[in-house]
Amino acid sequence: MTAPATRRDAPDSLRLDLLDKTAIVALAVALGFAFLTPPEATQGNVARLFYVHLPTILVAYASFAVTLVAVVAYLATKRLAWDQLAGAAAEVGVVFTGFTIVVGMIWAKPTWGVYWTWSARLTLTAVMFFAYLGYLALRRAIEDPVLRARRSSVLGILLIGMVPIVHFSVIWWRDIHQGGTVLRPDEMQIDGILAAALVAGFVAWSLVGFALIRRGWRLARLEGDLEIALRSGDGPAAGDAVTAPLLDGPREGTS
């Protein structure tokens, strides 16, 4: 019996490789930098969250950009690997967006006095979170890999087309209803150690995002192979484990 090529990768997949280790070290360094920065004048220590908040949302955007490219590549080539990449990148994008929102809320409460404001940027981030969560839910709901790839790439294209429209509509809506200005992170002065902390944050979170997408992609490929093996009813992976019934005791097989 020929073992599927993927089986050789499987035991390794739990082990951390060079990229994973680099990402972890970089993350530790970046967090170290964030704590080296002096407390912000008005906000105090909570402003350190900025060095997490900004890099993670940028990684989220980058992940959604990867999804976009992968969806287009899938539609052009019809190769399942591209669809699997699109799914893996969207997962990382959703996780990072959710993480950014939570970090933002923790930051906002002591700073603004509320967890949430209906600024265009915040609203959009939440919309994007839900839109891509829907994309993932759709992927999860379709079992057949090819069908899933086709259907979800249609939704992927739709998201690509609609997100900018949503973006502008929300900005327009906020322009009409603009109240008093709120304290914005970009008013903070960035120099010296602060810039270093920010750069370290970008590098570290990018590495983490990249490592996670790579892992997710590999997992999706393995799952894809497994699904195909299970689905091909009489194929070796599905049929071999089913044996002839043991009728009238274990000695007798049935011919």
Partner: protein, 220 residues
């Protein structure tokens, strides 16, 4: 004449569905140890008769008793666990593994669950016990149902098209399961279009024509 009460005793059973009469004045008596083949064309009432025996359908009129229990009374619920049922299409929880499906069957009926691995091995599914129901082929799901009935050890076994979806190696399971039930002084009813195959393992044939029992006659 038998001293032990019959497993199935139907007298003048009539079933109406809406305006149409599906079963008309059916008399049927099945003794312990009997394997009965039930035949008939489409719409002859085979499945309806099976539903009556499975206690899911109350007869409109007539007397019906299974394992000594009147099917029109409230004690129907208790007799259900003693009636095995392998329906037309496999009934498994798709999200649960084959093994888990059997565990649920044991827990809900109070049957001991220490034989699950044995019966899975008997039906040839020992190697795929952990696979989810929805990942299994029709034939594997069917085999799981046979494993379930071996486990729950019913006294009356009802099978609707039991050979469908079973491969050559597995089709011996039908006879094995029926023999398992009759060895415990139970009885089995096999509904099938595959008359030749079923007659080989049954003691008697019953033919339904237009909702009444006709033709057929007693076999060996």
């Amino acid at each position: 004449m038998t001293i032990t009460p019959p497993v199935v005793e139907l007298a003048g059973v009539t079933v109406r569905r809406g305006v149409s009469i599906v079963l008309r004045n059916v008399d049927l008596s099945i003794q312990p140890g009997e394997i009965v083949g039930l035949f008939g064309g489409n719409g002859a009432g085979k499945t309806t008769l099976l539903e009556v025996l499975a206690t899911s359908l109350r007869p409109t009129s007539g007397n019906a008793a299974v394992l000594g229990t009147d099917l029109r009374g409230e004690r129907r619920l208790e007799v259900r666990r003693r009636i095995g049922l392998i329906g037309h299409s496999p009934a498994l929880y798709p999200e649960l593994s084959l093994r888990e499906n059997l565990v649920v069957a044991c827990r809900l009926t109070g049957a001991p669950d220490d034989r699950i691995d044995d019966v899975l091995a008997i039906v040839g599914l020992g190697g795929v016990a952990g696979r989810r129901g929805r990942e299994c082929s029709y034939g594997m799901q069917r085999r799981t149902e046979f494993a379930r009935e071996l486990l729950l050890a019913p006294e009356l076994l009802l099978m609707d098209e039991p050979h469908s979806a079973l491969d050559v190696a597995a089709s011996g399971l039908v006879e094995h399961l029926a023999a398992d039930v009759t060895a415990r002084s139970g009885a089995a009813v096999l509904v099938s279009h595959d008359r030749e195959r079923v007659e080989k393992i049954s003691d008697r044939s019953v033919e339904l024509v237009g909702g009444t029992i006709g033709g057929g006659g007693d076999g060996g």
